[in-house]
């Protein structure tokens, strides 16, 4: 397993970071954390470093979502456009492993982005907002960050699937934006019906499961199913696995002309 996936993952990471866009994005995120800190310092008196980290994530998660979704579709579209897809496919590697390594590379960047966002906003918060009284703790912050993961992981997987089906970046991003927007509206409408708990959209924001109001924030009960956290997370995992499996299957059947 490690012998197979590790070299492939290293290849994907090399390609991801060989071009300036990934690094530029990380720089942009750090700058965004600094600007959020400066604005908070000017406008509020209660917010502390932890509160800033959560506030930064509220908007920052959409930056991360958009960037990683585009990147996922792009890693596939680029290989087809440049013809390098042939290089990947005429080597004795399974196409499933190639897909998994692409997903893994984008997820690595995703985690780096969240970590950077967290550390940068904490650092800025400690410097600029040393006397916050908002009641957040580090453990609350960590939970909030972790709860955003299923959403991001799922959409990156979905974007890979659309990328393989269409080799089109615009289509991927459009679909993800529409689903992200329509999905929550739709689940709210369907939330009265028992079958709606099987929809992945109900489980993409796990914050609603947390007992602490500080974590839940504005997430209302309607979007949260009545399944416990672990089962909610399991549903997301199942959807993600199906998504990656379909991607690997379609990719495996594809004729490259």
């Amino acid at each position: 397993m490690r012998r197979i996936l590790f070299p492939l993952l290293r290849n994907e990471l090399t390609k991801l970071f060989a071009r300036p866009r990934s690094v530029m994005f990380l720089v942009f995120l750090a700058a965004f954390a600094v600007i959020s800190g400066i604005i908070a310092e000017k406008t509020t008196s209660v917010m502390g470093a932890y509160g800033l980290a959560i506030r930064t994530l509220d908007i920052g998660r959409y930056f991360v979502l958009a960037f990683t979704v585009v990147l996922a579709a792009q890693t596939i579209a680029d290989e087809f456009r440049d013809g390098t897809i042939k290089l990947l496919l005429i080597r004795p590697r399974s196409r499933g492993a190639i897909m998994l390594s692409k997903w893994g590379a984008v997820v690595t960047l995703l985690c780096m982005s969240l970590l950077l966002l967290l550390l940068a906003s904490l650092a800025v918060g400690v410097l600029l907002l040393p006397r916050g009284t908002d009641g957040y703790t580090l453990w609350v912050v960590i939970r909030v960050y972790l709860y955003t993961l299923p959403n991001l992981l799922f959409y990156v997987g979905l974007s890979l699937l659309v990328g393989v089906l269409t080799a089109s970046v615009p289509l991927s991003i459009t679909l993800v934006v529409i689903l992200n927007f329509m999905g929550s509206t739709f689940t709210r409408l369907a939330s009265g019906y028992p079958w709606s708990q099987w929809l992945v959209f109900r489980h993409l924001d796990l914050r609603g499961h947390d007992p602490s109001l500080l974590v839940r924030g504005t997430v209302d009960d309607a979007t949260v199913g009545w399944l416990p956290l672990t089962e909610s997370a399991a549903i997301v995992v199942v959807y993600l696995i199906v998504c990656l499996a379909v991607t690997a299957y379609v990719f495996g059947r594809k004729e490259v002309k």
Partner: protein, 317 residues
């Protein structure tokens, strides 16, 4: 156990194409094509544009599926034993596929990571020297010339010491010096690494000095296969003479030449005859003795070249 299975089967041809057929949009692009190539051999895969060379190579490396038939590499079927078959192949399909934003060395490392068996630094340095890219290897591929990309592509394709090297029109975009250089190190590879090398081309002249054997295909079908080794002097040549014709000798000469098996090319006094190479001196001697007014005499083409030119012209039409 695993060792024996993955070992190269020495008794098998490097590649066997067995009745491969590809149908696209209801049209047979490749029609029951069969041939095989041994290790150490350089095999020319000839055909006019659109004959189906690239399609065949794509089937060989599993980029597209075939509708009928099979392709076996060192005895491993590309249909049922893809991984083991591909472990034995290095290929350039149409263009060398390189990441332009990576350096030459990074590209080789990418390829190395895609291989089953680990490839060490020494091997990477060795192939860099072999294709003479030492000076440019740490530059981005974006800055490479076409010839350098071609060479880096070959370096990639031989990195894992395959028993079969497939090159699709490698002479495209190379100047005569580049073609000569390519010829030199392909010969070296066939000899030193005991590789089977399949080189496709739509121009016989560009690969005839390179290949031990050639196959000609047209519209996806087998046309001919020939051995090109020097010792194959039994091949029939086309021998051409041009006469200093005048009105009074014209008819007499025509009669005389026709009786000897010559054929008229056109009305400019040129005649050809199919003949074996070793019979050429005797023929010239007898023509001189018969006082045939020769302007010039030359070996025009080999029979293979004749066949190929005819095919190619048909292909263009």
């Amino acid at each position: 156990m695993a060792n024996r299975e993955t070992a190269v089967r020495a008794d098998k041809p490097a590649i066997e194409v067995i009745g491969a057929t590809k149908v696209l949009n209801g049209r047979k692009i490749i029609d029951r094509l069969s041939f095989s190539v041994e290790r150490g051999e350089i095999y020319g895969f000839l055909g006019p544009n659109g004959a189906g060379k690239t399609t065949t190579i794509r089937m060989m490396v599993g980029l597209i599926r075939m509708n009928e038939g099979d392709i076996r590499i060192q005895g491993h079927s590309i249909r049922t034993d893809r991984k083991r078959a591909l472990a034995e192949v290095g290929a350039i399909v149409e263009n060398p596929e390189l990441y332009r934003y990576l350096t030459g060395r990074q590209n080789l490392q990418q390829y190395a990571n895609l291989c089953e068996r680990p490839i060490d630094r020494q091997r990477i340095d060795e192939v860099i020297r072999l294709v003479r890219l030492e000076d440019a290897i740490d530059r981005k591929v974006r800055t490479y010339s076409l010839g350098m990309r071609q060479r880096l592509g070959i370096a990639q394709a031989i990195l894992h010491r395959p028993s079969l090297l497939l090159l699709d029109e490698p002479t495209n975009g190379l100047d005569p010096a580049g073609i000569r250089e390519l010829r030199d190190y392909l010969r070296q590879l066939a000899r030193e690494e005991n590789m089977a090398i399949v080189v496709s081309s739509h121009l016989l002249s560009e690969i005839e000095l390179l290949c031990d054997r050639v196959i000609i295909i047209q519209k996806g079908r087998f046309v001919a296969e020939r051995t090109l080794k020097e010792e194959a002097t039994t091949d029939v040549l086309s021998f051409e003479i041009e006469l200093a014709e005048s009105d009074e000798n014209k008819d007499r000469m025509a009669q005389h030449l026709e009786s000897r098996g010559f054929e008229k090319v056109d009305d400019s006094g040129r005649w050809t005859i199919p003949i074996r190479k070793e019979h050429v001196p005797a023929l010239i001697e007898s023509l001189v003795q018969d006082r045939v007014p020769l302007m010039q005499a030359r070996i025009r083409t080999t029979a293979l070249e004749d066949l190929f030119l005819r095919l190619t012209e048909e292909g263009i039409r």
